[in-house]
Amino acid sequence: MNFPILSSLILLPSIGALFLFFTKSTEEKNITVKYVALFTSLVNFFLSIYLWILFDHTTSKFQFVEDRIWIEGLINYKVGIDGISILFIILTTFITPLCIISVNNSIKNRLREFLIAVLIMESFMIGVFCSLDLVVFYLFFEAGLIPMFLIIGIWGGTRRVYSAFKFFLFTLLGSVLMLVAIISIYWITGTTDVTKLYELGIDAKYQNLLWLAFFSSFAVKTPMWPVHTWLPDAHVEAPTAGSVLLAAILLKMAGYGFIRFSLGLFPVASDIFTPLIYALSVIAIIFTSFIALMQEDMKKLIAYSSVAHMGFVTLGIFTIQQQGIEGSIIQMISHGLVSAALFLCVGVVYDRMHSRLINTYGGIVSIIPKYSVLFMIFTLAALGLPGTSGFVGEFLILMGAFKDNFLVAVLASLGVIIGAAYMLWLYKRVIFGKLVNLELKEMTDLNKSELFILTCLAIPTLFFGFYPDPLINTIEVSINDLIKVYNISLVNN
């Protein structure tokens, strides 16, 4: 067996966290603590880039597979990646260091503990995206909740406890059912190894219930309508870095899960339940877009827009079209970049004025011009303007959806109109107009680290808008084969 690169990716942040655990944290040493965390996450980022370089995108087989016995005859620790998972890993390793840089302004107390939570979360997230055993996946998937729960509950705003519990309750509800489903799969097939399950297939008569159990977990995490109401609350209360992690990475676990497990393991049930997903996705897109229109809190607005964007993702996945699924993955990557950036943008003004309410602001374009430019770029990406990554994802999804169902594509496209309205209206109310609130005059433009973070997010947003080929190339073969296998198993059953 070669160098265990995936396990390294998973373990490295945890080792960093352990290291932090044993360093003393005082006010003066906060800088050291931060550098340790940053260094760890950067090493991980470069390691993941190296992984991308080594990655062979001409095959859909799992690569860099590590298979170790964990509990004899029962559970193997098995990890491996294919085109579907690798981009999520890179997204995770890319966002985490940016998050760590951003804590400067937002986290005032217990920085060390915060960074430990962030690093551990990175470990778990990478684990989610490369585990090839259902039990291992489940453990990572659920464990990822804990650091997030703590981040909201400890470093959150005034209603943090309510939000943290709401978040926990919702997500736990689905998870229990998924655990039951995983155990049943073991009973039915005798294994929880994903690759083996792909080969064996699961008898069609069990698929519906199993699919629903997995769905209940993924739907909450996506979040899909109507189990989305935890998200706005969680975002509003979470500190900026927490919101970034939540929006950029945590929400992607479910989308990934849908592709890997719902489509991969239960094709027959997926086919049956596609109308359900379509309906919920379209409702999510339209309803939450209208809701976003009326928000007065910037974070809530972006949170609701996230729900709408994730509606596009679920819609695309279940089109079972090359364009639809590829669009979904690109949309997730794009949303990871853009929503992270938007939450950071809110964080920037929040740090200065301590208000997230839209009507606090207005007329600040000439006071903070750099901020205004970057905020504009992300606003445009969020509304899916061609030339940004948001467009490529959304357009491909709708194209795929149109192939499958006219009505759904038409309704979902309506969301694009409302999306333009709420994003531009937000921007106008915050940035343009007359300066009414004179306190805003004291605002300072982006400092170096903020400028750096937002630029880091803006570059890929624009680059992949003009040249999404590196992304599409990486995922193309895997998705092509996924669809082939899916269609074959539909015919066989």
């Binding site: 109401t229 229109l293 374009v365 061609p386 490529v392 149109f402 309205a421 080929d469 599409i472």
Partner: protein, 637 residues
């Protein structure tokens, strides 16, 4: 070389946008104007090559999106159609750049303004040179974005910001249709490249689709969906409401974007897709009807408006209607011809009105002007030229293109055609009246402005007058010079080649002579009529308005479209948003979900608490009860 036509404006925009502070106002102005002018010269050269050397090319610059069978490139297609557009866009753009140096001289954000103008030019060029629908869409949204930036350029004005958003969102409604059209094309053909799609169109003429419960021919559906996009961008009736509001932007913007180039993108789209539209009688009829309705509607509204820019905006709307009904009757080349001539004279009128506004220090109401033709002699003469060209005064450019439209509508020989021709003539008359009204109220009669003394008004600087002068040359001669090239369809002189497709050749007959002279007579006779109404007997228009109060208000309020949309769409959307949020999310989902459940559990546990009373006799009693129940159950069993 061809690529640099597109690249130069982009480079100009980047330099001015990002390094504007570094290099200074004047340098940004010079660099952007220079680069766009070079691009214009290159475009003229390309057009020359296309006309005389039959040059055509399809340059692939880079790969953009490839997913499954979807292959989209960044590309540059050069054919007669795009060559004409290249020249129109770059030439008007370069003149507007130069004009802006003078017009924006008091503005503190010059580099930003120039950067937007150049960026707009880039996006517009991407739009016209695309060889596929998705790059077209890129340019389409790109110009929309620049329009958004430029309308809201004076960001402190709330009305400007609102107008900017309105423009973008209304355009998005059109884009919604456009995008669906693209999806449908991809669904049917598996490709979005023009040449492949156009080749496959004849194979599906009989194909029917069930779309949202309606059975419809596939080609009809494509055409209608694409046309919805065109309606949005070209401000056709129902989706026109953003264009008059867009006048909040600086005047050079109105000239470039909202008169000469961007708003004509819809017409360009229909002409570009002539190989599809030719197979759809239904869509062509819809286009004709929408076009002529817009032409008529906008002209009536323009009659009573008092904002100089809004009058010209409605006039633009109306002229776009003409272009559409030309396309609708199958005379795509004539539509292009009118697009071409219109770019010059309408840009001239806008820039001229800008010169007037500049002289009056940002006054736009024509009631507050008057009697200044001696103070602004050049502007006056140039505006007269623009007006003559617009109204179709014989031998100026508008005469050739507009009369050709009316002729071809007549020659179409069907009901919509005759109807369109009739409306076309009537609208030409109205056009003439409102245009001369503008001239007379602005330049003649008594001086009416209370804020500025007449001595303070001044002629614009040369940097503004020279572009006006160049445009006026176009306004005078473009029609006569290019008439043969655009309209003549004889085989030995077929300029358009494959870029415009005619299923049946256009009629080469001539309408009766009375028909030909009718429009010019109306147009010429309208000048003394308007002079009488607005200079000699000024009370008469007021009396007419007083007698027909409801009609007057109907026109003054632009047929109440804005109010209607506010009641039908804007307010309900907001209410729906509130309802879905406060009722659905908070009351229903949270109420029955987490909040409800936790409240329920709390209630239950409070109840359960009562069982633990601590009194032994209560516990013993319950035990006894349970024991006897169990026993009874066992015995019965």
């Amino acid at each position: 070389m061809e690529i640099s036509i597109i690249a130069l404006p982009l480079i100009a925009s980047i330099i001015s946008g990002f390094f504007g502070k570094l290099i200074g106002d004047r340098n940004s102005e010079i660099i952007t104007s220079l680069l766009v002018t070079i691009s214009a010269i290159l475009s003229a050269f390309v057009l020359y090559q296309v006309i005389f050397n039959q040059y055509q090319d399809n340059i692939v610059i880079a790969k953009w999106i490839s997913s499954g069978t979807l292959e989209v490139n960044w590309s540059m297609k050069i054919d007669p159609l795009s060559a004409i557009m290249l020249v129109v866009v770059t030439s008007v753009s370069s003149l507007v750049h130069i004009y802006s140096i003078g017009y924006m001289s008091h503005d503190p954000h010059k580099p930003r303004f120039m950067a937007y103008l150049s960026l707009f030019t880039f996006a517009m060029l991407m739009l016209v040179t695309s060889d596929n629908f998705i790059q077209l869409f890129f340019g389409w949204e790109g110009v929309g974005l620049c329009s958004y930036f430029l309308i809201g350029f004076w960001f402190k004005k709330d009305t400007a910001n609102t107008a900017a958003i309105k423009a973008f969102v209304v355009n998005r409604v059109g884009d919604f249709g456009f995008a669906l059209g693209i999806f449908l094309i991809f669904y049917l053909f598996g490709t979005v490249n023009y040449s492949e799609v156009f080749k496959l169109i004849p194979t599906i003429t009989e194909k029917d689709l069930i779309f949202l419960g309606i059975k419809i021919n596939a080609i009809d559906l494509i055409c209608i969906l694409l046309f919805i996009g065109a309606m949005g961008k070209s401000a056709q009736i129902l989706l026109h409401t953003w264009l008059p509001d867009a006048m909040e932007g600086p005047t050079p913007v109105s000239a470039l974007i909202h008169a000469a180039t961007m708003v004509t993108a819809g017409v360009f789209l229909v002409v570009r897709c002539s190989p599809i539209y030719e197979y759809s009688e239904l869509a062509l009829n819809i286009i004709t009807i929408v076009g002529m309705s817009t032409a008529f509607f906008a002209a009536t509204v323009a009659l009573v408006q008092t904002d100089i820019k809004k009058i010209i905006a409605y006039s633009t709307c109306s002229q776009l209607g003409y272009m559409f009904f030309a396309a609708g009757v199958g005379a795509y080349n004539v539509a292009m011809f009118h697009l071409f001539t219109h770019a010059f004279f309408k840009a001239l009128l806008f820039l001229g009105s800008g010169s007037v506004i500049h002289a009056f220090k940002d006054e736009q109401d024509i009631n507050n002007m008057g009697g200044i033709y001696k103070k602004l002699p050049y502007t006056y003469i140039l505006m007269i030229i623009g007006t003559l060209a617009l109204t179709g005064f014989p031998f100026l450019s508008g005469f050739y293109s507009k009369d050709a439209i009316i002729e071809f509508a007549y020659l179409r020989g069907n009901t919509t055609g005759y109807y369109a021709a009739g409306i076309g003539i009537l609208t030409a008359f109205l056009t003439s009246i409102y245009s001369w009204r503008l001239i007379f109220k602005t330049f003649h009669g008594k001086y009416n402005n209370k804020n500025i003394k007449i001595e303070e008004t001044h002629e614009s600087p040369l940097v503004m007058l020279i572009p006006l002068f160049l445009l006026s040359i176009g306004a005078i001669f473009a029609g006569y010079t290019f008439k043969e090239l655009f309209i003549d369809q004889s085989t030995d002189n077929n300029f358009w080649k494959d870029s415009i497709f005619f299923l049946k050749p256009l009629s080469t007959e001539h309408p009766p002579i009375w028909f030909l002279v009718l429009t010019p007579i109306l147009v010429i006779s309208s000048i003394p009529i308007t002079y009488y109404l607005y200079v000699k007997n000024k009370n008469l228009p007021e009396q007419i308005a007083n007698v027909n109060k409801p009609l007057y208000h109907f026109l003054l309020n632009k047929w109440y479209f804005d109010e209607l949309y506010d009641v039908l769409i804007v307010k309900p959307s907001k209410n729906l948003g509130l309802f879905l949020w406060k009722f659905f999310d908070i009351k229903l989902i949270d109420g029955f979900g987490p909040d409800g459940i936790s409240a329920l559990i709390k209630k239950c546990s409070l109840k359960a608490n009562k069982f633990q009373s601590g009194y032994i006799y209560q516990y013993a009693f319950i035990m006894l009860l349970g024991f006897s129940a169990l026993l009874t159950f066992l015995i019965i069993k």
